[in-house]
């Protein structure tokens, strides 16, 4: 059973790390602010979500698992809001730099 949990954890966290690396690469390489935002949201939503998913079976209590999920939900909320605000600021400025 613990082997299954370990394998699941490694697979999920590895996939999460992949999305973080991809998001970081997109942040550095994409040409304009809106596509960079698009790259970042993948790291926040999927990357962190997968890492939380991989950590869930290892949490010591249901409360700890709930806290992990709450952290993911809060980051989703904050990430989505800041992406909206940055996107609006970019549009208002009228430049794509």
């Amino acid at each position: 059973m613990s082997l299954v949990i370990d394998l699941f954890g490694v697979a999920a966290i590895g996939a999460g790390v992949f999305f973080f690396v991809a998001g970081a690469a997109g942040l550095l390489r994409f040409p304009d602010a809106l596509s960079r935002l698009h790259a970042l949201t993948k790291a926040d939503n999927l990357g962190l979500g997968l890492i939380v998913l991989g950590l869930l079976p290892r949490s010591t209590s249901p409360l700890a698992a709930l806290k992990l999920i709450a952290i993911w939900a809060l980051v989703l909320l904050a990430g989505a809001t800041t992406a909206q605000l940055v996107g609006r600021a970019v549009r208002r400025k009228g430049s794509a730099a």
């Binding site: 709450a70 809060l74 909320l77 904050a78 809001t81 909206q84 605000l85």
Partner: protein
């Protein structure tokens, strides 16, 4: 070299790199963003040093509240610069400031390197007396019991800081409200964030304060989270800062240090010495003091961010 050691070294290098970037950043706004990232990395360092209380404080106060204050300052400086009221520092003062900062950093580094391997420590004594306070978190015991007087003075400093900010108001605004007025139709994105986050944040803030008695957390961290929720509601312009002449506001500001001081004097009468807590009742007294400290912190920090009064008080 183990994986953890490699991570620690990587973290330390990252902290150095972000610190250097913050110093050489092209503008005040970029430097502030660098400073916030630097603070968040530092709180990771504190976690690696097993100082979770310090990590929480660094993230909430060092990075969060100070970051908001600095962003506000950067925005105001930019307005002043475009208006021509404010000039950038020229070469010599800049060099002097850099020199003095380097000197302080080098002195601190030298002291840290000169520490004996087994430094003098009061940790065993403080752990031995911990049960008498009824607390499980030694950091809270140090803050509210062993060095209660210092903590009380820190709260007084916070009140003085708010008084200092208010003193910058023009005469006609004295007693008026700082910041922007609330809007009937606030900006939807921020308003949504404030409406969803604030109830959760208030819960988390109270939780952090409450568990602070036995686990990492405490009045300062919890109060800072509550303060952040009020700041978000004000930034979304769902609500506006109260008039600085409001009696409830001033009472809430001084409640923390005042209750603390009264408890200290009561200790002199009932428990034998200034800031002593009666045996067996230490924990309730400590929690009572902390409750009012949370209130004062949650009110003082948003008032610092809101700045000096900028609207005329109603006559």
């Amino acid at each position: 070299m183990s994986v953890l050691q490699a991570l620690d070294i990587g973290l330390a290098l990252l902290v150095f790199a972000v610190a250097a970037w913050t110093i050489f950043a092209p503008g005040a706004f970029s430097a502030t963003v660098g400073y916030v990232v630097y603070g968040l990395l530092l709180s990771l360092v504190w976690i690696r040093l097993f100082a979770v209380d310090v990590a929480l404080t660094e993230a909430a106060i060092g990075s969060g509240v100070t970051g908001v204050l600095l962003i506000g300052a950067a925005a105001r400086l930019r307005e002043a610069k475009t208006a021509g009221d404010e000039k950038s520092l020229s070469g010599l003062p800049r060099l002097l400031i850099a020199g003095l900062c380097t000197l302080v950093a080098l002195a601190l580094a030298a002291v840290a390197l000169l520490f004996p391997d087994q430094g003098p420590s009061l940790a065993p004594q403080s752990m031995r007396r911990l049960p008498e306070t009824g607390l499980g978190n030694p950091v809270t015991a140090v803050l509210i019991a062993y060095r209660a007087f210092d903590t009380m003075l820190e709260k007084v400093v916070l009140v003085l800081a708010v008084v200092g900010v208010w003193s910058l108001a023009a005469d006609r605004y004295w007693g008026g409200a700082p910041g922007e007025a609330r809007l009937a139709r606030p900006e939807p994105t921020l308003a949504f964030l404030a409406q969803v986050l604030a109830p959760l944040g208030v819960l988390v803030g109270i939780h952090i304060f409450w568990v602070g008695a036995d686990e990492p957390g405490g009045a300062f961290q919890g109060g800072a989270i509550l303060a952040a929720m009020w700041m978000i509601a004000m930034m979304a312009r769902l609500t506006e800062a109260p008039r600085t002449s409001a009696f409830w506001l001033r009472l809430a500001l001084v409640a923390g240090p005042l209750v603390f001081l009264i408890a200290g004097v009561a200790g002199a009468i009932f428990a034998g010495s200034f800031f002593a807590y009666p045996p067996g009742f230490a924990k309730p007294v400590i929690l009572f003091i902390e409750t009012f400290m949370v209130l004062s912190i949650a009110v003082a920090l948003p008032m610092l961010v809101a700045g000096p009064p900028r609207r005329e008080p109603p006559r």
